[in-house]
């Protein structure tokens, strides 16, 4: 949120910086169209994020802006409180999820989402992971052990990807460069795949648990 931009309050007609409420009459302001979710929750724009801070600020704002508090207010404010609540939830959903958060950060840096030509090295890895999964029989006695070792592998890779993404965003802040965004976008694709793979492992684990 650009704190220096001023606008005229729809209620008191006085100037007010963009924000949640008019600084003069305390009326709810409309959410800015380019509202930045990081700024909304008072967070630094970075990939690494304190989940507890996000949750605490989300809760505080949610209480402050909840439609119940505006039930006796003007229709405009009732509508705005609903709009804010929607934006708050959207913001929380986006920032809480690492894949969505990375995508959102990329978009804020001006990166246009695009279909990337697959990277052969990664396809090779996907093939290996699928082959490993194919040989796991949920009925077999060693199924749980094998699934858990695949889970460790995929989790380690996912964490490494997240660490790299965090680093790359930091690098971008020093020296903005589209090549960095492309690398991040590729890593996000990998994260998405590893996450799906982990979901598949969970599904097989349940089958294996049922079988034993």
């Amino acid at each position: 949120m650009n704190q220096t931009a001023t606008q005229l309050c729809w209620s008191c007609r006085g100037p007010t910086p963009a924000g949640v409420q008019c600084t003069t009459c305390r009326a709810l302001l409309p959410p800015a169209p380019d509202l930045d979710f990081f700024a909304l929750f008072g967070l630094e724009r970075a990939f690494e994020l304190e989940m507890t801070t996000l949750e605490t600020r989300h809760r505080t704002l949610q209480r402050q802006l909840h439609p119940d508090f505006f039930a006796q207010r003007s229709p405009t404010e009732r509508r705005l409180s609903l709009e804010w609540t929607t934006r708050l939830n959207e913001g929380r959903q986006t920032l809480i999820d690492p894949v969505a958060r990375a995508g959102y950060l990329l978009a804020r840096l001006g990166w246009k989402e695009q279909r990337l030509p697959p990277d052969p090295e990664f396809l090779e890895e996907v093939m290996e992971l699928r082959e490993a999964l194919e040989t796991v029989d949920p009925q077999a006695t060693n199924a749980l052990a094998r699934l858990s070792s695949l889970k460790n592998l995929a989790t380690t890779r996912l964490q490494a990807e997240m660490a790299q993404i965090a680093n790359l965003f930091r690098t971008w802040q020093q020296t903005p460069d589209d090549a960095i965004c492309l690398t991040i976008a590729r890593l996000v694709d990998r994260m998405r795949y590893h996450r799906r793979y982990l979901e598949e492992l969970d599904r097989l684990e349940e089958l294996a648990l049922d079988a034993h």
């Binding site: 052969p120 996907v126 093939m127 795949y193």
Partner: protein, 128 residues
């Protein structure tokens, strides 16, 4: 969605599933896919001294149409020269398997796999 009979046949009795030696100079490996959706297709061709593809293998993780398309192209490329193999177009694959519009990308993937395998074979030959 009901699968076409030819798709089902290739899906249930896939031809040429397996692997060829990736390190072999006569072998070209093509790896294509859309990993974010979990689809990955590996197509390998072996080219003999006469320049003819004498063996082809595939391994595909994906939907029935993707498996059928890769199985079909392993049959089609065998006995062809690499230039002839490159004339196989996704449209031919889609027509042969009567793929519905939502599955056209599977035939595109199979065509890309041929191109990628040929490119790998050629780069190995250049390097040799």
């Amino acid at each position: 969605m009901a699968y076409n009979e030819k798709v089902l046949d290739h899906y249930e009795n896939p031809r040429n599933v397996g692997s060829l030696d990736k390190g072999d100079l006569q072998v070209g490996t093509g790896m294509v896919g859309a990993p974010a959706c979990g689809d990955v297709m590996k197509l390998q061709i072996r080219v003999n001294d006469a320049g003819i593809i004498d063996d082809a293998k595939f391994k595909t993780f994906g939907c029935g149409s993707a498996i059928a398309a890769s199985s079909l192209v392993t049959e089609w490329v065998k006995g062809k020269t690499i230039d002839e193999a490159l004339t196989i177009k996704n449209k031919d694959i889609a027509e042969e398997l009567a793929l519905p519009p939502v599955k056209i990308h599977c035939s595109v993937l199979a065509e890309d796999a041929i191109k990628s395998a040929v490119a790998d074979y050629r780069s190995k030959q250049k390097g040799a």
